[in-house]
């Protein structure tokens, strides 16, 4: 179809591999998110914990830096599993804001513009469409969670030496698995609420409600029914419980009672159930065309 001729001509050139089509969605999704300056600024801010922890690790291994800052040897400087758990617990809320801010808009915009039918009339399936959208969030959340966490791990391994890496290699696995659970939970909830309500503001509000309104409801249920199972509605609590297990950290102090409220298996079951419910919702609601059930 030459411009000067302005005639229609079929395309007979090369095509991209079918498996790679979802990356087009991811690329355009990321470009859309980063076209917002506040969002870009906030994403940069999310790397602040990484820099702080990096500086901390350097401080632990540098006597010169300790002397410069006047920090005595009596200070309990250690880099162990607890430090990495704390790192994840510090970036997780920031990632939650990132997912609540950017996630629903990735899909609600398509519904608002009726463009889902255009995507799905192309050679991509609903699963690929969803995978493309989720991969946007997964990429962003990975960049602020497990990638910096593993960088910190390997930086510490390089500075520590003496076989620290092999003795603590399980921490790398814990980091990966913990982040995978959390990213899956954030991405799926974000997408599911977006597909369900199809309105960005409402979807963001619903996502906030899931994390901030359900825990008090669980607390009320506990009080009324005289049970402890209400804490299952506190997803943050459940994730923390699983993370503590993965990082082999025990709850101490005033929080210990809260973490003993429900067994570990129930936390896993709850998180898996939420993910399964999100999948069910996405499968039922993500359609090129709405069908009114008679």
């Amino acid at each position: 179809m030459a411009v000067y001729k302005r005639t229609y001509k079929a395309y007979r050139g090369p095509l991209t591999p079918a498996w790679s089509r979802f990356t087009v969605l991811s690329r355009y999704g990321l470009a859309t998110l980063f076209s917002s300056r506040p969002f870009t600024a906030y994403t940069v801010l999310c790397f602040l914990p990484f820099l702080i922890y990096l500086a901390y690790i350097y401080l632990v291994h540098s006597t010169a830096a300790q002397a410069l800052l006047g920090v005595g040897r009596s200070m309990p400087f250690t880099v162990d599993n607890t430090l990495f758990l704390w790192f994840l617990r510090s970036v997780a809320p920031m990632g939650f804001v990132l997912a609540a801010w950017g996630g629903p808009g990735l899909i609600t915009k398509d519904f608002a513009n009726h463009s889902v039918q255009l995507y799905l009339s192309r050679p991509i399936s609903r699963t690929e469409y969803l995978f493309g959208k989720i991969s946007v969030l997964a990429t962003l959340l990975s960049c602020i969670t497990w990638i910096p966490a593993l960088l910190l791990f390997f930086v510490n391994a390089a500075l520590q030496g003496h076989g620290w890496l092999w003795e603590n290699f399980w921490i790398a696995g814990s980091i990966m698995l913990s982040c995978l659970i959390w990213i899956a939970l954030m991405s799926l909830i974000s997408m599911a609420v977006a597909v369900w309500v199809k309105w960005r503001i409402a979807a963001t509000a619903l996502m906030l409600a899931v994390f901030f309104l359900l825990p008090p409801i669980g607390f009320v249920l506990d009080a009324i029914l005289r049970t402890r199972w209400g804490s299952l509605l506190n997803f943050v609590h459940m994730v923390t419980l699983v993370w503590m297990h993965l990082f082999r950290v025990s709850a101490t102090g005033r929080h210990a009672a809260g973490f003993d409220a429900v067994p570990l298996w129930s936390a896993w079951a709850m998180l898996l159930s939420v993910c399964a419910f999100c999948f069910w919702l996405l499968d039922n609601k993500l359609r090129a065309r709405e069908v009114e059930r008679a």
Binding site: V3, A10, L15, T16, S115, A294
Partner: protein, 324 residues
């Protein structure tokens, strides 16, 4: 010509309602019109052809490939222009079309090139960097057409392409459809409730009524067949009708000096004039029967099956249609 779309007992239900009911037929035109009143199942048929709805019974094939089992392959060959506004409002026109072309499998560079070309082709070249949200309705329709053809499909499905367009934009849109059709590289299927749009572009028409096929006809053949049917208004002349019959024509007097004639292939119109002159009969008026798409549509709506072949008996008095 091989069938582009084939339907065999195609039945689609949405909820508990049967929207498409045992559709059978083969569509093989270069430009196929899909007609029917609101709720007749036109859009559902298009959505079924796109694989959005799965038939509960029967099957449909595009380019001899069963739809549900070859979705990815077929969608790469199909361009779709939906009826409703469907675009990303805060994206520039050319970025949007490039995005859609990339999703169809074109590499980045080629997608960008084709997006520019498609925009120039539909006549929006100057507006291609503007955001889609700022486009007028006519421009949006053209942008939707651009995204439907940018990846070079073999079949383009246009759902109500002239909806909401002013006369000038409508003419432009139909002109583009005819141009695309005439390249011979692509088959166009247009869904519309505007008979004139279909008549101007299409060579085959599928008329749906209550989810069933009310008529499936080849407009080209109808137009050719119309040239064989004559209606004359003549002064009374003894023996004229018999002589015309003697030429091998079928004819009938329908009163008030009006005569209807079917010309066989080997009979020239001059022979009718000659016969009239021989019988000193004046031909005061002569019309070709014009069985327009509107006639076909109204007949299809009145009945419940495909239109029968033209009857050779005179119609009852007062019949509005000019069939013999």
């Amino acid at each position: 010509m091989p069938a582009v779309i084939e339907m065999q007992n195609l039945t689609v239900q949405l909820g508990n309602r049967t929207i498409l009911d045992r559709l059978n037929g083969a569509l093989s035109g270069r430009c196929i019109g899909l007609l029917g009143p609101n709720g007749s199942g036109k859009s559902t048929l298009i959505n079924t052809l796109l694989g959005f709805y799965e038939p509960v019974a029967g099957a449909a094939r595009i380019f001899e490939k069963e739809i549900q089992s070859n979705l990815r392959e077929l969608r790469a060959m199909v361009g779709y222009m939906p009826e409703s506004d469907a675009f990303i409002a805060d994206m520039s026109g050319v970025s949007f079309v490039r995005y859609m072309a990339e999703l169809s499998g074109l590499p980045r560079g080629e997608a960008m090139e084709r997006a520019h070309e498609a925009f120039f082709y539909v006549g929006l070249g100057e507006a291609r960097y503007r955001k889609l949200g700022t486009y007028s309705l006519g421009m949006k329709q053209l942008a939707k057409l651009a995204q439907a053809i940018a990846h070079g499909p073999r079949l383009v499905l246009l759902d109500e392409p002239t909806n909401g367009l002013d006369p000038e934009a409508r003419v432009r849109m139909l002109q583009l459809v005819r141009e695309i059709r005439d390249t011979g590289e692509v088959t166009v299927l247009i869904s519309s409730h505007l008979l004139r749009d279909i008549e101007e572009c299409c060579d085959q028409v599928l008329i749906l009524k209550d989810g069933r096929i009310a008529a499936l006809c080849n407009l080209e053949e109808e137009r050719k067949a119309n040239l064989k049917f004559l209606e004359l208004e003549v002064t009374q002349g003894n023996g004229f009708l018999e002589s015309v019959r003697g030429l091998g024509c079928e004819c009938a007097a329908v009163g008030a000096g009006r005569v209807r004639i079917i010309l066989p292939d080997n009979i020239d119109l001059r022979q009718i004039y000659r016969t009239a002159a021989e019988h000193t009969v004046q031909i005061r008026r002569m019309n070709y029967r014009r069985d327009s798409l509107e006639d076909i549509f109204l007949k299809a709506m009145a009945g419940n099956s495909m239109p029968p072949p033209p009857p050779l008996l005179p119609p009852p008095p007062g019949s509005a249609n000019g069939r013999l």
